[in-house]
Symmetry: C2
Subunit: 227 residues, 2 copies
Amino acid sequence: EIVDAIQRAFEQGSLTGRRIIVTSGPTHEPIDPVRYIANRSSGAQGTAIARALAALGAEVVFVTGPADVPPPVGVEVMRVETAREMLAAVESALPADAGVFAAAVADWRVKEASMSKIKKEKGTLPSLSFEENPDILATVCRSEQRPRLVVGFAAETDDVVSHATAKRARKECDWIVANDVSPGTGIMGGSENAITLIDGDGAEEWPRMGKDEVARKLAARIAESLS
Amino acid sequence: EIVDAIQRAFEQGSLTGRRIIVTSGPTHEPIDPVRYIANRSSGAQGTAIARALAALGAEVVFVTGPADVPPPVGVEVMRVETAREMLAAVESALPADAGVFAAAVADWRVKEASMSKIKKEKGTLPSLSFEENPDILATVCRSEQRPRLVVGFAAETDDVVSHATAKRARKECDWIVANDVSPGTGIMGGSENAITLIDGDGAEEWPRMGKDEVARKLAARIAESLS
């Protein structure tokens, strides 16, 4: 039994000694104390990836926005709400061997969120101006502490591969995990995912499978890449 | 044991034969397929109220937005996402003896939500225009099928009682359950609530207590009012 356990640990330990940052979930950007803008994201895929990496022996720092699913056990959890908080958490977690940026970060935040609830007045509509949020993926890629392997995500609704390929070049990351989140696919909030992995060699389409399976497959690829 | 059960059913049955609509949770108003505007609301208080009303024997129709907590058992659940869907569900559930409108409905929605993901382009910020959502509470109060007892909620961050008293008059509802959701109170997303019940006689401040206890106390008041 002990021999089994050791062997299992050995087999699964292909990421032992590797520190990997995983972001997950949406960010919430406040409009006022009771309203916010968010991206749809259950956090299910990011959570599954963190779990799969930890199962291979990695030391995982899991930076999560307000997700629907609980974080995995056996990882260091950092809870954040906004994109700016997420970037700060990621920067504080560097250096790392790899970064997997699965969170659905809001691209924009509301300029000067109100400190008190905006009252609804008859005939008056709120006017919101926006400003750009920090680009966490690009910032990490250009950081002096850039991890050896940086994996970005691209949730697209059309021209998935061309958008994701352009994103990879623009952000200067190593891989992009792209998926089609059009409402018809049932991927958003569902238990399955159909991704295309884009690296310097091109695009590799994976068959539709469970999010846990996507996570295990991706974790194995990461282990291979870091070995 | 059977006698006990019958007695318990009798004691708890002060709402037997009463049909009560309870709304709960936030609404999500789409910006595009991956982004939305929401109100902060875990759905915890509305869920507790529905559970407490059902425990008193009421036939509860539970109209819920995307909440963090699961709906109670023993109620009819109608799941909605937007304010317009919530109004349609409520209207389809009328007539009823009472309506408890605990949901945190978004006052505004984005005019012409985009069918595809709005791309982030360098230096370009999205411009969102808004339109007013239907006012579910006021609509029900002015409906020909107005329940005998209509209870609204007011989540405020300042001047709680005066804002809530004005809201009661404006909406023409019977009671307003008002609370202070300022970030410092820990009420939003927490397990406790401190409410003020406003009716035609004035404002009654309840001590801070568990959301389940608020729910039981409110359900008892509703039973009294409908008896």
